[in-house]
Symmetry: C2
Subunit: 341 residues, 2 copies
């Protein structure tokens, strides 16, 4: 076997993003180019004719190993979360996850409907031993050199204290493996610093985290996220989702306010024009493309979810995230960690 490199197979939903199939195919090519030293095979899942016609526009993918897997249906952003197991069993999300379930691939990525990915993956793949609920995280820019991972951002609108503890464990393994952050600090999102603040659930979670052996630094308030006070912030998916969407809207708010201001006078327009590139530089931390999607942590398989507005760069980074999550055996490490706790 010496010299023969292991083949790593990744399935990619070609129909997922708002810019599908172009972003997906271009991102896939960039990924394959970057990882040409490895033995990688991509499974392009989606409508065969759509994929073939996109490949005609981007023939350089033919230099690499790939296979087209036809999926007649597409889950749109407006479909129900259960579509993948009910009305659209032949969707790219369902078929991609089937490939993963049947061990034909090592990972699956999609920039499609997050709710459908979550439900379909959880139902098809099941949970990692020891995990009560899968979770989705998101990276927030901070004033420090590394972003903060906030989880859950929407998978679980109601949680038990144990779930919050498990989110912390999963986040800790993910951050330390993916980003080489040693012993990342963990904060519990709350409305005050004191142990006895907030709901009963967070008060109990506080005790679990305090006794866990994790690098728990206590309660984190809304104002502590941007300063990067904790590497990982755990919360229920209700508040996490609202915070995430609120943060994303800040850039829109800022740009729109800037536009209104520019329209007030010619002098204002000039000033705003001079600022444009600076503002762009400043907001680079908000660029979700760089983070390459987020793993659906806790399901029994490597599943990476991307932003609907994924560019080729974002898709490439999602594929890289999938590759590392698989090769570093993050799921196995989560299982071991939760079983020994």
């Amino acid at each position: 076997m010496s010299g023969a490199k292991q083949v790593i197979s990744i399935a990619i939903d070609i129909m997922g993003s708002d810019f599908a199939p172009e972003s997906e195919i271009k991102g896939a090519i960039e990924f394959l180019k970057e990882n040409s030293d490895k033995n990688i095979r991509l499974y392009l899942v989606g409508k065969e004719d759509v994929i073939k016609s996109e490949i005609d526009k981007n023939p350089s993918i033919k230099n690499y190993e790939y296979e087209i897997v036809n999926a007649d249906q597409v889950i749109t952003m407006s479909d129900e979360a259960t579509a993948g197991v009910k009305s659209k069993k032949n969707s790219s999300i369902s078929i991609g996850l089937d490939l993963l379930k049947e061990n034909k691939v090592n990972a699956f990525i999609s920039a499609g409907n997050t709710g459908a990915m979550l439900s379909t993956a959880t139902l098809k793949l099941g949970r990692i031993n020891g995990v009560s609920r899968p979770t989705i995280g998101s990276f927030f820019p901070t004033l420090k050199s590394n972003p903060t991972l906030l989880l859950d951002v929407g998978a679980n609108s109601e949680v038990k204290p144990q779930f919050l503890y498990e989110f912390a464990v999963m986040g800790q393994i993910y951050l330390s493996e993916m980003y080489n952050i040693k012993n990342p600090s963990i904060g519990l999102l709350n409305i005050g610093e004191e142990e006895k603040k907030g709901t009963e659930t967070v008060q109990e979670a506080y005790q679990l985290l305090k006794e866990s052996g994790l690098n728990f630094i206590g309660n984190i308030e809304g104002r502590d996220i941007f300063p990067g006070t904790a590497d990982i912030v755990v919360c229920d998916g209700f508040v996490g989702n609202i915070i995430l969407k609120f943060a994303e809207s800040f850039i829109v708010f800022f740009k729109e306010t800037l536009k209104k201001y520019a329209n007030e006078s010619a002098f204002n327009k000039l000033k705003v024009g001079l600022m444009a590139s600076t503002i762009k530089d400043i907001f680079r931390g908000f660029d979700y493309q760089d983070h390459g999607g987020v793993p659906l942590l806790g399901v029994n398989g490597v599943v990476i979810i991307g932003h609907g507005k994924s560019t080729p760069k974002a898709i490439k980074n999602m594929l890289n995230t999938a590759l590392i999550t698989y090769t570093k055996e993050i799921n196995k490490k989560i299982e071991i960690s939760l079983q020994s706790s």
Copy 2:
């Protein structure tokens, strides 16, 4: 009685803000000057010697009607919320609220410890008939001409559906009376637009609001706050408090990021220098001074709470808010509205 104007008495906590007593006395003078056509009497509550020495620095207050009410104790920002009724019964907050309870004044304002104000006011004054839980709101800047009132922002970390409905009623009366917004629109903060999204509590609240006769426009997501999609957004105090503190930290984050960027090169420094005044203009909507504090809605008395960092202008506006809340009989209108529903 013809010609004799009604005396309106307002008690003000002179020890409350981070800049006390200076902000309080200067703000009081500005308020009295602005309302010199009315018959107003201020009760300055706090340490007598501190107040007297501040008046020596600002003798123009002597042109108006005022009275000093000594309070030996001060509730600090680090005191427990129960301090006002336990360890610090002689604090300016307690004594000010006693004046209100005993009908010696028509309103009380403080820029001190919000938790202590909430607890002490609720215990001393009780609730308006028909109100299950008092609430505190906060104004968020929007892309529209008027800000959005978000409530609750911390008074109730756990809520029942009925509380959320009552917050909507109180917010609706407050906005329409204070800002002449006719039939303000009401949104329910949630993690999706559909009726069946989110926790059981918000799903039930959705039905209550839908059947209420209020101008309910459905669920509002985190991204809908800044666009000003709803005039009023209701949520539990856990998510509301986190969102509020997170929003306040945006400006800090932005300024710090700008500073870091400026320090990268002399050219960057120049660019940032040119932007400074523009940025200031753009963030004017975030200036809590203009909103003049927020009422503690639902307690049986006019109580206005201010930001710890209240400037004289903020104090002046808080006094104006108190005056209008009292003269427009907002509490009576809340009572009538909730009893008839």
